[in-house]
């Protein structure tokens, strides 16, 4: 599924719209523990989290994730957004809590495999 399509259907706000959003999303992973994301996410996955620390961009780059969705109205820290632009990692936000957002992603057909 295209990232653009997901952004539209879930009304996500893209915090760094300059990055290329024509990316294939291959699945999704939810976790706020970065060591867990390093261990268990897969290439092309979308990552849903409340963590806004700069390290999330490094983890997304390392694992070649298709993007990060910050839930519950969280916004990226200033240095995090800067790094997201540099590293070309799409970073999106939503006022929805993780549970609701993940339910919607699941309905769209995304899986964690």
């Amino acid at each position: 599924m295209e990232l653009q399509e997901i952004i539209k259907s879930l009304s996500l706000k893209v915090e760094n719209p300059s990055v290329d959003l024509n990316i294939e999303v291959k699945g999704a992973y939810v976790s706020d523990m970065l060591s867990d994301v390093i261990g268990n996410s897969k290439e092309g996955f979308l990552w849903i989290t409340i963590q806004v620390h700069l390290n999330i961009i490094a983890v997304a780059s390392l694992k070649n994730l298709s993007g990060i969705i910050l839930v519950n109205g969280r916004v990226p820290a200033e240095d995090t957004l800067k790094k997201a632009i540099e590293e070309k990692v799409p970073i999106m936000t939503t006022p929805l809590p993780a549970f609701d957002l993940v339910g919607m992603l699941y309905s769209l057909g995304l899986r964690c495999r």
Binding site: M33, L34, S35, V37, I38, Q51, H53, L54, N55, A58, V59, A77
Partner: protein, 245 residues
């Protein structure tokens, strides 16, 4: 001539909700003295309100107390702030309190008892001391340094509340003065797991929440005197001083 002092730099008192009520300053000092520990740091969750009373009790036993606090960051990473002066710790505490939302629920988290030298109850801290502050890891380390303190990443081998578990790795540009390996992990195992971070000094401590825990792990500080500034020099390895773990 530098000599070795034994230090347990991570001890909670009955002011921490998760600590046993027997962890009064008086009994902590007594226990540390019986174990031959020279330096202790009182590091309650997000508070330094038991440092002063422990310090005055310890003086009588010839034990040095470092002012400390275990601060919980917005990412739920635990960081020890150690300070040379009580006023510096209290300045840090003021910033922590301003950024610490919530009220304690004793039934869920436990009591936060403030006592005096004679173990008489002076009151209860009402704040949610177990909670996370709104301060990031980076900001907390900056703040600790701005109050001349030493910033130590707590129990980096613990998945929950350890910096590597929560943030995957130690963020670039965050200058810890030391990393704490918990009592759970041997030095040999820690070397296998965290060899990448060997350029930062390592310490180990008890993270005591009960009297029996005190001193289950200690760090040796080879230095001239049992002072905070000497500890700083020992961590840096200045002129024959060193840390033994």
């Amino acid at each position: 001539m530098p000599v070795e002092f034994r230090a347990d730099l991570h001890i909670h008192t009955c002011l921490s909700p998760c600590s046993e009520l027997t962890m009064t300053p008086a009994r902590i000092v007594e226990r540390a003295a019986s174990l031959g520990i020279n330096i202790i740091a009182i590091c309650d969750h997000n508070t330094a309100e038991h440092v002063e009373v422990t310090g005055s009790l310890a003086k009588k036993k010839g034990i040095r107390v470092m002012a400390g606090m275990e601060i919980n960051s917005s990412e739920e990473v635990h960081i020890l702030g150690l300070f040379g002066k009580l006023t510096e710790a209290l300045n840090m505490q003021a910033v922590v309190y301003e950024n610490l939302p919530g009220q304690n629920n004793e039934d869920v988290f436990g009591m936060q008892v403030l006592v005096n030298e004679d173990e008489e109850v002076l009151g209860f801290n009402k704040r949610l001391l177990i909670g996370a502050t709104d301060l990031s890891v980076n900001r907390i380390v900056e703040l600790i340094h701005s109050f001349n303190g030493l910033a130590v990443a707590s129990h980096i081998d613990r998945e929950g509340f350890g910096i590597i578990g929560q943030l995957g790795f130690i963020p670039e540009g965050v200058e810890f003065d030391a990393l704490e390996i918990s009592y759970r992990t041997s030095r040999a195992r820690a070397l296998e797991m965290f060899g990448l971070y060997k350029h930062v000094p390592w310490i180990t401590s008890s993270d005591a929440h009960s009297l029996e825990d005190i001193g289950r792990k200690t760090t040796g500080f080879v230095m001239e005197h049992a002072t905070f500034e000497e500890m700083r020099l020992a961590l840096r390895g200045t002129e024959g001083r060193k840390v033994i773990f």
